[in-house]
Amino acid sequence: MTAEAAEEIAAQDFASIVESHRPQIFRFLLASLRDVDLAETLTQECFLKAHRNWKHFRGDSSAMTWLMRIAINLQKDHWRNRRLQFWRHTQANAIGVDEASDWLPNGERSAEQQIVAREQVAQVWKAVDGLSARQRTVFLLRYVEDRELSEIARATGLSEGTVKAHLSRALARVRAELRGTR
């Protein structure tokens, strides 16, 4: 196999990875930031970074875990930079928890059930808002992205025990919010 052919195969691989994983990366960033424009920008940056480093991807973990790790780091960098510069602007662009909970599909529910469900989703958003950045990341990877604990540990660079601890605290906070004790 020539070098050119190998490069072409790698490019095709990367294109298929972008196609299959881009919506998930975007969803995770959107849930983390609650800002559509910012989530789109960071998703673009994530795949740009991934493309630049695609040659160095050894396949130790799944491509999704690798991409998620890049996205988490980009998000951290973003918050670090924003905190020093225009964090207020970012906060202004992010939508509120009530607006975020409006997206709940109707399903088979009655109008009353729908209202109750929306209120509960708003309470979860409120609890998520009060979590630390690390707890929020772990919580969203588990309950929005349906990731296994081992995958979360690899994506965040934490041990499984630490991931469990963060997840327990986040869940306790959500429960407290749902019971109205916080």
Partner: protein
């Protein structure tokens, strides 16, 4: 939810499980809608707006600098004009003062020169004046006024003269 490694808290609470499923469904719906939305040229509009604002600010600064410069130039010209007029008035006053002072000086100088040049003539003239005054005094003293004539005649008659 299909985790194989569940936490104990995740297993025994169906209410929380249901709420978390609703939460996930909500995020999925929002993300799908946002992902499929038609893209607008927001960035370009923002860029144009920023560019226009930058230009406006730049123009304002340039106009301000120009106006400031012109005002300063005008002020300096005014100051120079006032200074020049003051200097002209002062010079005119000095000239006028010099012109007033020069005739007196000329007379004094002339007199001094004459005095220095002719001291004997002056002395001579003064002596002549004194002699003339003395002769006049003696003549006057020898004349008898008309009103005193009868008295003087009487004195002559009595032999008291």
């Amino acid at each position: 939810m299909s985790w194989t490694d569940k936490l104990p808290e995740e297993i025994d609470d169906p209410m929380v499980k249901g709420v978390l499923e609703n939460f996930k469904a909500s995020v999925d719906a929002w993300s799908d809608a946002a992902y499929r939305r038609p893209r607008t040229v927001v960035k370009a509009a923002r860029h144009n707006l920023r560019l226009a604002a930058t230009w406006a600010l730049g123009c304002m600064l340039a106009a301000g600098s120009l106006a400031g410069g012109l005002y300063e130039r005008h002020r300096r010209q005014e100051l120079a004009r006032v200074e020049a007029s003051k200097a002209a008035v002062k010079a005119a006053e000095q000239k006028a003062a010099q012109e007033h002072a020069s005739p007196e000086k000329a007379v004094n100088v002339k007199a001094t020169a004459v005095t220095k040049r002719q001291p004997t003539a002056v002395k001579k003239a003064a002596n002549e004046n004194e002699d003339l005054l003395a002769s006049v005094d003696s003549d006057v003293s020898r004349q008898v006024p008309a009103a005193m004539e009868p008295l003087a005649q009487m004195m002559v008659d009595n032999g008291t003269d």
